[in-house]
Amino acid sequence: MGATLEHHEPKRGIISNLKTAFWQFNNTPGQLIPLLQRAQETEGYISEMAMKYISGITEIPESTVYGVITFYRQFRLRPQGEFVVRLCDGTACHVNDSRLLKEIIEDELNLEGSDTTADGLFTLELVACLGCCSLAPVIMVNDQTYGRLTPQTLRKTLKKYRRLGRELIKEREEKCNLEIGA
């Protein structure tokens, strides 16, 4: 299974968070999914290390844990971009041309077949329903919802986030340079 998991630095606190959660759940049956949810909350995805750790403390085989992770849509084995664009593909959005929006997002963010951009800034996620059908078609960027979109307003919104993304990268580079300089 290692082949599908990329190696990333584990986030600080993941182990202690899982330890606390395990203690809280008090080894009750059915704790596996809440533990995985806690791991994802901490790291943004489920790292190989977290998976192995959970398997160890719960005494559930790694293969079973992996099976549960891949079964549920919520769990991710890779980190997401800085900006997560959730495109609603519920029925109401679908009949209001959400597929067209998908093409625009892929085009504007240069997502070629992958769900995350090469620079790790954007992830496109198709979701079944965001629950605001009267605003269809809808996207969510992180916690912000944008409704009643047209191709034009969508491009404008995405351009805004691309600009934010560029600034973010610049900031990081500067910080990095400073650290090197110091």
């Binding site: 049956p29 079964f71 849509r73 605003l135 191709p151």
Partner: protein, 589 residues
Amino acid sequence: MDTITIGTGTCGVSAGAEAVLEAFQRLISDNQNNTILLAETGCMGMCYKEVLVEVKNSQGEFLYGDVTPDKAAQIFQEHLLEGHPLDEWLVLQNHQEGNERDFILKQHRIVLRNCGLIDPMSIDDYLSKDGYKAITKALMEISPEELIQSVIDSGLRGRGGAGFLTGIKWRFARQSPGKIKYVICNADEGDPGAFMDRSVLEGDPHSVLEGMLLCGYAIGASTGYIYCRAEYPRAIIRLENAIKQAEERRLIGENVLGSGWDFKIKIKEGAGAFVCGEETALIASIEGHRGTPRIRPPYPAAAGLWGKPTNINNVETLANLPWIVQEGPQKYAELGTEHSKGTKVFAMAGKIKRSGLVEVPMGISINEIVFDICGGIKDGKKFKAVQMGGPSGGCIPASLGETLIDYQQINKTGAIMGSGGMIVVDDSTCMVELARFFLEFTQNESCGKCTSCRIGTLRMLEILDRIIEGKGEQCDLDQLEELGHQIKNTSQCGLGQTAPNPVLTTLNYFREEYEAHVQDKCCPAHSCSALVNFMINSENCTGCMICTKDCPVGAIGGEKKQVHFIDQEKCIKCGKCITTCNFNAVYKD
């Protein structure tokens, strides 16, 4: 005291309720006004008019729609300070008059009785609406058997989709031997386009808890689980808060209301799997496994969660119960038709003028909902069909618009009542593509346990893809039907047994549309890209040259400031021009 109430359900927040709330907070503090109370409430049902703000003062109750922070300032100044309501933005006055009165006229609110009226974070608000009186009455005066009998008498059927009589289900769980029993509230609302349960959880969480208490008392359980979608963070926050408040008042926990009976409620967050709406899959998921269904019997009533007798009810079913116990089963049974009693909540969306939540008595017709309540179709287009029951349901054509909302009547059309998503489509929606959309959804969500569902739906999807791309043949239609019936007959759980419904109903009612795709290679709704020509509307085109540059095959020609044209020979129908044009000048013909 004057009150400003803002709808902060998910629909309201998406439309910008938080900015409006902040605006009012600022206005109140700027004016150093201590006589105006600011409150929040759940979804009022009129999602199409969000952000909704209600002003209550000595003049009456005024509901404003489409409120922005700017409008908020004006409402505050003119209405609250000067006493002049702003008629142009008013949608309702005193809950019955006003521009949008048609929307509520034919509704009958039982499940949504408190939604949009009370603050969902306040147990006192719920108590002031006779909250927790039903469980008090049950514990003091009614035996569990009598309670079950009255639920049977009310004729309430499970609102999750299957429509099984709730009281009978309870009786099975009651009669199952065993000391430990469980109540599960199914709040894993997975249908795309359905948001009834979310609105109830967000707008009136205590009514669901009270429903669970009643169920727990009736079957003799001491633990309840709410299995809620993790995608509903707001609902989970409000439920957690409601449980905490109810525990503080001794309504949940040990020795409920001094009766000696213990009942605790826990929340389990789902992790995103449509199949977990199925009872046995949901149980597997709570137990921490992959959410795959198992063969029934034994039914959960005999052996459910951790092998113990378990009763599972949907959110809407549970929210009905306090009302039934309070008002009496006869009053509930008076509403509706012979076999379908009470009311049903529908989430209306799609191409209608008024989308949102409606609660109607059973026995009302589809046309009444679409036209009288929801105002008909947007942009003057023609009503084509309603899709009921989500991916497990089917399409009912406009010609059957007089069909009554009744379990039997709806089933006769090939659709199902389902959980209550109703998507209205007009003549610009291609029914083949819509069927494909639903099938793709169920195909993705198939848990993979039985072959007919896992592989059968994939084969159907491949055929539909061929048809949409203009490569279909006449025999494909027969094959779709045959496959559909086989999957229905041989799948183990409800997901597989209903997955072909969207295809089969559209094949039944819109066969000519399928035939147009396979025989004439055209899409009557002008929707399927492979079967249409892309054209430029000369009135809208400004000659900006953007599409000529973006076209990947150089099929668009034309000079600057002159109307462009598309070379149909070169065009590969990728649709890029539609997405780049800033003037809506490209259309499909």
